[in-house]
Structure formats: structure tokens, C-alpha cells
């Protein structure tokens, strides 16, 4: 157990080191002066004194520079944006939770739809239910996310007018940011009409969440279906039937758990795709998330922002996937070592 923990921590540390190295090198690979790309400050706009102070540490060799860079990263000084001049650390801290919120709702939604549907299709394998669900999932799988989002806007907000077009919450509400997750913030705030604010935020959430969730749901559905079919065809399920257990007993006691174990790591692999889709959808719905922010930064060639945004997103992905892997590794009984004792 301690061994496994140590190995995974090691892996995460090495990966994070490489990521930080890459983000540092990006400053040199982008056009313009490396120092400007790192700090976001225009050197010619600074006073003579500051300029010479910064230049002083740049003149050291590259390893010393990297050391300084990492030190600044940890102290929360990520530089400022070229365009707005705002500190990047606070920007990322404000936009990233919005993205995480959107993605996690989409993930939850796809879990609650995809998993049961996958089980149903697998239990009705080679039957009409299975085939129809499979073909519908193929449709959902092949629809491009941005197109789906645009169609949703067209139908549900422009024609039917059920849901708002863009944004996170109506401008009428002023929600103080505490956690960065809007629904939690509303509940924590001391507004007079909390309820209407909550409903308004929910109405803003529905369209982007659904458009991200469609693709993820089909993926989860297909993975679940495959895994359940494989599990139900395995020998121990046949053996359980041969022992005279009822189909419900076999499914509940032996089928479900063993089908779910291989699903989780595959789901962790889907997280980057989910995040990419979330970024696209954010920029369509003008959702104030990291994706929208990053795409704006790319348009405006805001190199410090690109560097910081990429670092933040990749660290998030690495830590998320690694922790899911670790949880699976620690809980999966099939990976447990044998105790050395004679029986």
C-alpha cells in the first residue's frame, strides 16, 4: 500500500516537473523576448530600476532561471497578461473552477444516463433494445460538439426561448465568488432571492452541460455495454449459473462489480476529451471558463496567458487521471498481492 502510494507520488512529481519544464521552454519557443513571455511585462514600459533588477537574474544561466521560475510558480506569481495586465494566477483561479464545474456536471449527467443504458443494452444483447440503443449512441458519438451546441442554441434559445443564450448567470445577480463554483456560491451567499438566482444559474447551465454530455454519455454507454457483455460471458458467470443461482443473484452479486472495475480506468482516459469538448462549448456559450479564456488568449497572442493556462489545465488533467488510477489500484482486489503463507 505504502509502496504503491510512493510510486504514484513519484510518477506525479516527475510528470509535473516535465510539465513545468515545458511551460518554461515555451517562453523561449514563442516569438518575442523570453523574459516578456514569462512575466507578461513589457520591458520598455518599466522603469529603469525595475528593468535592471529583472535583467540581473536573467543574465544567469538557464538552470538558475528555471529555478527562479519554479519558485515564482509556487509563490503564486505567474506573471501578468499582455492584454489586460491582470495577474494570471488570479485569472486562472477565477476561470478554472467554472470549467471544472461545467465538466463535472456533464460527467455526472453522462454517468447517470450512460451507465444504466449500457447495462440495459448489454443485458438485452443481440436484441432490438441493444441494436437501437447502439445506433442512437453512434449518432451521438459522431455529432461534432460545436455543431450540436449551435443547433441547441438555435432551437432551444432562439426559436423556443426556453433557455438563455449565453453566460453563466443573469447580470442582475451579483454573486460573491467564494469557491468559484456558482451553484455553491449562490447557496453560500446571503442574497435575498437565492432561489431565483439558483434557478437562473441552472437555466444557464442546462444547454452547455447537455451539449458536452451527449458525446461523453455515448462513450460511457459504449464502454459499459462492452464491459458488461464481456463480464457476462466470462467463465465465472457461467459457473455461477451452473451452481443454481438465479439470474438476479448472478448479476447483482457477481456481474455488476466485475463489470464496473474495468470501466473506471477507461473513464479516466476520457477526461481530457471531456475537457476539450468543454473548452469548445465554453467559447460558443461565452461561458466564463478556462477554455474560453485560453482561446481568447490564443487569438490575441497573449503568450504568458497561453503558458499559464496550458500549465494549469495539464496539471489538472494529470492529477485527476492519476488519482483515479491510484484509487482503482488501491481498491481493486484482483491486484492485491498474495500473502505468503501455506494453506
Amino acid at each position: 500500500m505504502a509502496n504503491v502510494l510512493l510510486r504514484y507520488t513519484n510518477l506525479v512529481l516527475v510528470t509535473l516537473f516535465i510539465l513545468s519544464l515545458l511551460s518554461f521552454l515555451l517562453a523561449y519557443l514563442f516569438p518575442g523576448q523570453a523574459l516578456e513571455n514569462l512575466t507578461g511585462l513589457r520591458l520598455n514600459e518599466l522603469s529603469e530600476l525595475q528593468n535592471s533588477q529583472i535583467k540581473y537574474s536573467v543574465d544567469n544561466n538557464i538552470f538558475v532561471q528555471y529555478w527562479h521560475y519554479v519558485g515564482e510558480l509556487f509563490s503564486g506569481n505567474w506573471g501578468v497578461s499582455f492584454n489586460t495586465g491582470l495577474p494570471l494566477y488570479e485569472d486562472v483561479g477565477r476561470y478554472l473552477p467554472a470549467s471544472i464545474e461545467l465538466s463535472s456536471y456533464a460527467l455526472l449527467l453522462s454517468f447517470f444516463i450512460g451507465l444504466p443504458l449500457g447495462f440495459i443494452a448489454a443485458l438485452r444483447h443481440h436484441k432490438l433494445t441493444d441494436y437501437s440503443l447502439l445506433s442512437v449512441s453512434l449518432l451521438g458519438y459522431s455529432i461534432p460538439v460545436f455543431w450540436l451546441a449551435l443547433i441547441m442554441i438555435l432551437v432551444f434559445s432562439l426559436q423556443l426561448g426556453w433557455f438563455p443564450l449565453s453566460g453563466r448567470i443573469s447580470l442582475l445577480f451579483e454573486i460573491p465568488s467564494i469557491t468559484g463554483f456558482i451553484l455553491i456560491d449562490i447557496l453560500l451567499s446571503d442574497l435575498i432571492d437565492k432561489q431565483s438566482a439558483f434557478i437562473d444559474a441552472l437555466r444557464h447551465l442546462i444547454l452547455p452541460t447537455v451539449s458536452i454530455a451527449v458525446v461523453t454519455t455515448t462513450m460511457i454507454f459504449r464502454i459499459t455495454r462492452r464491459s458488461v457483455i464481456e463480464t457476462l460471458n466470462s467463465e465465472f458467470i457461467l459457473a455461477a449459473y451452473a451452481r443454481g443461482l438465479t439470474p438476479t443473484q448472478v448479476l447483482m452479486r457477481h456481474g455488476v462489480r466485475n463489470a464496473l472495475i474495468p470501466i473506471l480506468p477507461l473513464l479516466a482516459m476520457q477526461f481530457p476529451t471531456l475537457l476539450t469538448n468543454a473548452m469548445i462549448v465554453e467559447s460558443i456559450f461565452s461561458w466564463p471558463g478556462i477554455g474560453n479564456w485560453l482561446i481568447q488568449a490564443i487569438y490575441q497572442q497573449d503568450y504568458p496567458a497561453i503558458r499559464a493556462g496550458m500549465l494549469a489545465v495539464s496539471v489538472l488533467v494529470v492529477i485527476f487521471t492519476m488519482s483515479i488510477d491510484l484509487i482503482i489500484r488501491l481498491t481493486d482486489p484482483r491486484r492485491r498481492r498474495a500473502e505468503r503463507a501455506a494453506i
Binding site: 452479486r253 503463507a341 494453506i343
Partner: protein
């Protein structure tokens, strides 16, 4: 008393949109308290028979039989629920692959307790149940010769040595106190000491509790040490069945003879360094089954008549199906 009576059991499998008879008119009768051996090469359909008996075959395969009864009740026409109950109560199977046939994510203890039938439990309250189940499970493990019950019950299937898992499977099979234990090649891939332990265990179960055993194997030495009756299977057809001693003394079917000859330990007169006898060729695949007697192309005594399936003939308790049986000219 006849426990299991199978007459003309035929199983058809759908292979690339063509129905192939994987089992062709199998006959078998198992009496109470008998150890019945089912012998055949790999791929001759031994495991299919086992699965057909307990109903663990895919639903799209076609099973037909003139008779397939358990103590007079027809297994093929009864409802799935009734059949499941009957199997739960009276028949236990020990599978070929002990580790594969156990749930990999549950401890052995939980799986063993699952098999304990309700009517063995005397205590009524649910908090007493678990203790009672634990005690019963430990008792079962001691019966099959597993001493370290604590560790065994708390382990997962992959953590335990193969022969111990096989003993555990026997304990699981004994849990419901069945009338018939079907042991599907229980000693596969084991070395001699654990093999003898398993075989002894099975014959003791047979003697002490009077349980019948259907012993499926290709290990003639093991069979001759414990079984009393033998059915020989070739490529989905029963070629010969009869009392084991009689069969060994006087096999009528050329295949049985070849099988017996291929085991050197049965031939005391075999001179040193002489070539071991075996039939030419291999067992045919399901795609290329010969018509008539399926042994035909490999049979040393085959003649033109062998393209027709031979009828079952009977001499006392000895059944065989061959047009040109051995030892017949002499008689």
C-alpha cells in the same frame, strides 16, 4: 436407483451460419452411489456434456434429447426456475478451471457462504446467521483438507495455489450436499501429490456420503483407480460404455482399445524401448466432421460400411457402437 438418464442427447452449434452437431446422440446413465467416468480426447465434447446437464450453455444452441431425466423428472421440459432449483439442490459441478470459475473480486469466504443452502441454517435471527455460516464454512474447509481456514476464507481466488483452489471448489460443491458431483477434469495440470489428494477426496466423498460422481477426465490411470463404470467419448459420439473392469479386459470398440493401449501403465507386457502405440491423425475439427462413424478416417479397422452411423449394440451392461468390433470374430 437411476439418478441421471440421458438418451440420444444432441447438441447443435451454429458455426458460421451452419448447424454442426457438436454432440451426436450421447447416451449415459448414472446410478446412485456410482463413480462414473467420462473419457475422451480434448475436444471430444466432455465439457459440453457437463454444461448441457447443468444448463450452462448459450441459449442460441439447440439441444435435443429423447430422454434427459433427473430421478424421473424431465430436465429439458421443466421451467428454467425449477431446473435451477433442482441443480442448486442436487447437482454440483467442479469446473476445469478453478480460478477462472470463481468471482475474482470476492473473497473465497463470501463465495463459499453464498453456496450454503437456507435449510441447513438452523438459527433464525440474521445476526446469528453469519456466525453459523462461518462455522459451517470452516467445517467444510476442514473436510476437504484445508487447515488454514482463516487465511483461505479471507483470500481472493488469485492469491491461492491452484490445488488449494481446487480443494476449495470441492468444498463449494459439497456445501449444498448434492446427490451428484460432476467433476470436470479436476486434476488438470496438477502434479502427482495434489492429484492423488484430490482423487482420494472425491472417492472418500463417494464412499462416506454415497454421493455419485461423474468424473470427467482423460487420465486413464486416475479413472481406473476410482471409477467403476466408464463411458468413452469420441468427437461428440459415445463409442462405448460399460463396466470399467470389463472394458479393460475386453474392449469392443477400436477407439477404446487405442485409448487403453496409449497408456503405458496399462500394458505390463510392453518391452522396453518399444514404440508407444497411438492412432494416426488428430481429432477432427467441428468444421470437418466425417459422416457416419466419426472415428472412420483414423480407425485401423474401418471399411466401407463405416460411412453409416453404427447402431448401439449391447452385451449385458456393455454398450458399444461399431460395425466391426474387436474380439468379435473369436466369439
Amino acid at each position: 436407483m437411476v439418478l441421471l438418464d440421458i438418451k440420444n442427447l444432441t447438441l447443435e452449434i451454429d458455426i458460421s451460419s451452419e448447424w454442426v452437431k457438436a454432440l451426436d446422440k450421447i447416451n449415459m446413465v448414472i446410478h446412485e452411489g456410482q463413480i462414473h467416468a467420462l473419457v475422451g480426447e480434448s475436444g471430444s465434447g466432455k465439457s459440453l456434456i457437463v454444461k448441457a446437464i447443468v444448463g450452462a450453455l448459450p441459449k442460441r444452441w439447440r439441444i435435443t434429447a429423447d430422454r434427459m431425466t433427473w430421478k424421473g423428472q424431465n430436465l429439458l421440459t421443466m421451467s428454467a426456475k425449477a431446473r435451477r432449483k433442482l441443480i442448486r439442490k442436487d447437482i454440483s459441478v467442479i469446473f476445469q478451471n478453478p480460478i477462472e470459475s470463481l468471482d475474482p473480486s470476492l473473497t473465497l469466504g463470501k463465495q463459499l457462504k453464498e453456496m450454503l443452502p437456507r435449510d441447513q441454517l438452523t438459527k433464525t435471527w440474521f445476526w446469528q446467521r453469519n456466525d453459523e455460516k462461518q462455522a459451517l464454512a470452516i467445517k467444510l474447509l476442514h473436510k476437504v483438507g484445508i487447515k488454514n481456514h482463516q487465511l483461505c476464507l479471507a483470500s481472493y481466488p488469485h492469491q491461492i495455489a491452484n490445488d488449494v483452489v481446487q480443494k476449495f471448489m470441492i468444498a463449494m460443491a459439497l456445501a449444498s450436499e448434492p446427490k451428484l458431483i460432476i467433476a470436470d477434469d479436476p486434476t488438470r495440470g496438477m502434479e502427482v501429490t495434489s492429484k492423488t489428494q484430490i482423487l482420494k477426496l472425491l472417492s472418500r466423498v463417494n464412499q462416506v456420503r454415497g454421493m455419485s460422481v461423474l468424473f470427467v477426465s482423460h487420465d486413464l490411470l486416475a479413472i481406473s483407480s476410482m471409477a467403476s463404470y466408464m463411458t468413452v467419448l469420441y468427437c461428440g459420439q459415445t463409442v462405448e460404455s460399460g463396466d470399467l473392469k470389463q472394458l479393460r479386459k475386453r474392449a469392443f470398440h477400436p477407439y477404446t482399445q487405442a485409448l487403453l493401449d496409449s497408456a503405458p501403465s496399462f500394458r505390463k507386457d510392453l518391452p522396453p524401448k518399444s514404440p508407444l502405440s497411438s492412432l494416426d491423425g488428430t481429432i477432427p475439427t467441428l468444421h470437418h466432421l466425417p459422416i457416419g462413424c466419426r472415428l472412420g478416417p483414423r480407425c485401423p479397422r474401418a471399411r466401407r460400411e463405416c460411412v453409416e452411423t453404427p447402431q448401439i449394440r449391447r452385451v449385458h451392461t456393455h454398450f458399444y457402437s461399431c460395425h466391426f468390433p474387436l474380439h468379435w470374430d473369436a466369439k
